[in-house]
Symmetry: C2
Subunit: 612 residues, 2 copies
Amino acid sequence: MSPCWMARIGVKTRIIEQRDRKITRGHADGVQCRTIEVFQSFGFAERFRKEANELSEVVFYNPDKDGKLVATSRIPDTEPNTSRFRHGVLNQGRIEDFLIDCMKEHSLTVERSISAVSLECREDPSEAHPITVKVDHLVPSDEAVDANGLYRSNILPDELFNSSISQRQVAKTEEIKTKYVVGCDGARSWTRKQLGFSLEGDSANIYWGVMDARPITDLPDIRVKVVLHSADSGSLLVVPRERNIVRFYIQLGTLQPGEKLDPSTQSVDKIIESARKIMAPYTLECPEVEWWSVYEIGQRLCKNVSFKNRIFLAGDAFHTHSPKGGQGMNFSMMDSYNLGWKLAACVKGTVAPTILDTYGGERVEVARQLLEFDRTIANLFSGKPSVAKSEGVSMAEFQALWVQMGKWTSGTAIQYEPSLIVAESSPAKTKLAKNVLIGSHFESQMVVCYADAHAVQLADRLVADGRWRLIVFAGNIGHANQLQRFRDLCSRLMNADESPIKKYTPSTADLNSFIEVLTLTSSRRHALSYSAFPELARPFVGNFRYPTYDQIFSDEVSYLDGGGEAYTGYGVDPDGPGCAVLVRPDQHIADVLGFDDCVEQLGRFFGGFMIH
Amino acid sequence: MSPCWMARIGVKTRIIEQRDRKITRGHADGVQCRTIEVFQSFGFAERFRKEANELSEVVFYNPDKDGKLVATSRIPDTEPNTSRFRHGVLNQGRIEDFLIDCMKEHSLTVERSISAVSLECREDPSEAHPITVKVDHLVPSDEAVDANGLYRSNILPDELFNSSISQRQVAKTEEIKTKYVVGCDGARSWTRKQLGFSLEGDSANIYWGVMDARPITDLPDIRVKVVLHSADSGSLLVVPRERNIVRFYIQLGTLQPGEKLDPSTQSVDKIIESARKIMAPYTLECPEVEWWSVYEIGQRLCKNVSFKNRIFLAGDAFHTHSPKGGQGMNFSMMDSYNLGWKLAACVKGTVAPTILDTYGGERVEVARQLLEFDRTIANLFSGKPSVAKSEGVSMAEFQALWVQMGKWTSGTAIQYEPSLIVAESSPAKTKLAKNVLIGSHFESQMVVCYADAHAVQLADRLVADGRWRLIVFAGNIGHANQLQRFRDLCSRLMNADESPIKKYTPSTADLNSFIEVLTLTSSRRHALSYSAFPELARPFVGNFRYPTYDQIFSDEVSYLDGGGEAYTGYGVDPDGPGCAVLVRPDQHIADVLGFDDCVEQLGRFFGGFMIH
């Protein structure tokens, strides 16, 4: 995600990766709603949706009072109104392709077979490129990286994990001077070790198998998600994948405290055998297994994620946990999505480096919540179910918690705390926009584009290009009084000296290049002729000063796609005084403002970190 | 479209094209709903939807009683329930890319710079490859094909039209022996001339300009479709395109009978000047014009489209008309869609060549309807509006006709007459499925997939792969009696000697390889466990005999996407005896059958043209 930001915003970047080629099978696969919203902001949500298997239903199989497995209930996998997108699964290799293609549009590529050797950061703050990274260019090997099931497994000791790299020949060495380094180098992060930081936390002493296979089974539900607790043989999770593949998570066994699992004793046959025991009396044959692995459950966190706001850790490099919540790849990408636009703005010199403090402030806190969530869900998964009245995990309790955690799991419940770039909430702000939560991402509603009558998801307009957005709820501009209020606001935003638009938009740049104003009226289209809108709402852009047609919307029912519920959805009074919502480049809500002091408040807010 | 069929079905094919490169600008752009449904059957509707501009609204501008232009009314561009897709516009070059990419997936490519010189078809019916086409391989030229606005215009005399080709050097010649030839070579079809066939019809002696430009205007509606009749200066049509481009159709003038327009007197400046007069008092500036042309309106048809069922004409080669109805490219592709699967089956030797008679039978008749439609709409467009009570075209009448023709324009109203491959309708059949019209395409309804709970458009399952489909409305199989009827039907389809599935499916092939059975129950999912369905409904396929999960559906409300209205939509009684709808490989409905004589009727139907 960070490189996508850099590519989009035009920041010179190098991505070095020690492995020769990308993985093609297995690994992470679940992509949560919020992550797909972010894919959409980079323009490739459609590619994901086309290839992924959307998950529609979750079925719980539990032992009945005789210990026989039965489907006890069915629920939707994505609760209504969670997002405009749905939870889906697709192998990590394809997700990486989408990211790589997104960067490639701006000529940024991944440089493979390069291994970092040393990392040094000078003290001198005046130095333009204070960091030196020495790297080895390795001779590419022919070895398929993911041939072995335990490749990258957390049960491998470090020396085995790194063996394929350490044995490779060095073709040449290079010294890279840079302003910033982001270590997205996984649970055994080399970057983290260089910084002397460490992951803290525990192993749960439980190990699971994971397998991608195309099964032949008489379990009637194999193309929906199945959470299956057997009476005595452990638990199993079925996640149907693209191409009729199924991802199985299979409980294998427990370890004594301090005991290490011997990788050489693990095999795909043992995993299938365990699955059969858990699923019995249902049958299971897997003629073709595409990928498998074994992992130990644990939750670990590194609370330091930045060194002098110059070197950063993201993803598994600072948080690890079990995979069944489908959070790992998602959370890691969201770290990077949070960091990328901030770093790019620092490199561009438009903001003070202090905003980089908010990366750790925001992401370490949500990672802590993630580990808490993971601990709970992992315990419930590995626990023995209480059959009838005997001891164990109550399946009703498990299912209730599952549903309750749905919003959190989807990634849409993340809310950042007040900071330099998240304003404090207040009752007055809440009154203006009841359901717009400062610190949360801006949720989407279907609205109608004034100029072309298209029904559009408003959040689709929050493209990841580094711009801030001011979403102006103009209210009912069919009323002369409200229209005048809206015109006054636009005029002050465009002309007042304290307006950040006036202050920070370069004089040669388009009016919407720093903050893009999106207007949503509660009155119907044609309450005001398009040509009568203030210039700020429909700025003229480019050399020929072409008009824009995609910044004004009406909250009305579209011809074919619904709509007309946006003001209600956001909790804004359609006949009220209006308000403005400031949205960060990463779609998180920075502030909610009334028309009257909007310009002054914005001036103060941006004054806190912008460089004039 | 024909080559897409050939590529998909695996028929050895060559596509020869005399021009060096594909066009990139201008030409046809409107893509109708039914065409997008066909794109979907080849798997690229999404690509189209992503890039095209969907048209949402049509606004009519007419002179008021003082002759001043005003927006008199607004209607949706695509009427609700026309299709699951919407009318959109995208330049012809991109559509060609989609088709080319679709073929390329099966290694079929376009061979450019090859010009046909002679065409000969032997009499001997026993000859495997009775046709000889002599071709010249031309030396590629550097000339951009579409640099001049009048390139390919119908106002160019033949010698000018062909000049760029005739001047080119021949690198080598070749003789191609083939079973079939399809001439998709446009209004001045070389193939048609070789066959001695001619287009018959009239010119309307009216000429229009067409232009793709990014306009700067104060007309408030420039991003929706605008049909504008001025009081005295002629008419204009605005079609907003992708990338903020607008396609303008502009009435330029009339000709005396027999008069020819001098191409050298036409220019883009004259077109813009005419547009300004028609739009006045609204302003128009076009700093960048991407493409322009001038054309004469006329409707012409060639009633012969086949020579001995060996050589065929498709598209403009046998029908030409004015472009404003947005039909040209669509109708041409639909010709080819109709022909392709039939030709492929003949080459494969599974059907008798007599089914090729149905190509002309079906397409000449609908082309005749097209020309009738076009004559009406072109007259109304070019007519002078009646202002107040004076003479002229009534704008109310024009608009009423526009709306009424919406379904026809969308391409979804096409219905083929009874033939070898379209059964006669009857009151008994109508009673079984009131809204399933034999000869029409099978319309889509949202249904829920039994196995994975996905909401799916049933017609999305009608993939263009050459297979027939039998859509079995199984009814309420929660009732033991109806379940038994359904099981009996499946059993007879699978085992009875007269069943075409039994008779024509090769013994080594999958059970669904000739006719794929799609089952739709009116009872809810889980009225019957998935594993309890008859094998025919969920056949085991491939070497490993993997189960299929995408052939059984329920007419119920999905978790998130509606549904539950399919039986009502198709007019089938959910508690009735059930029925089966036979659908051709091109999605047209061949027959509607009751359960009781289904197998016998199918046997007779396929017996009429299948080769055992």
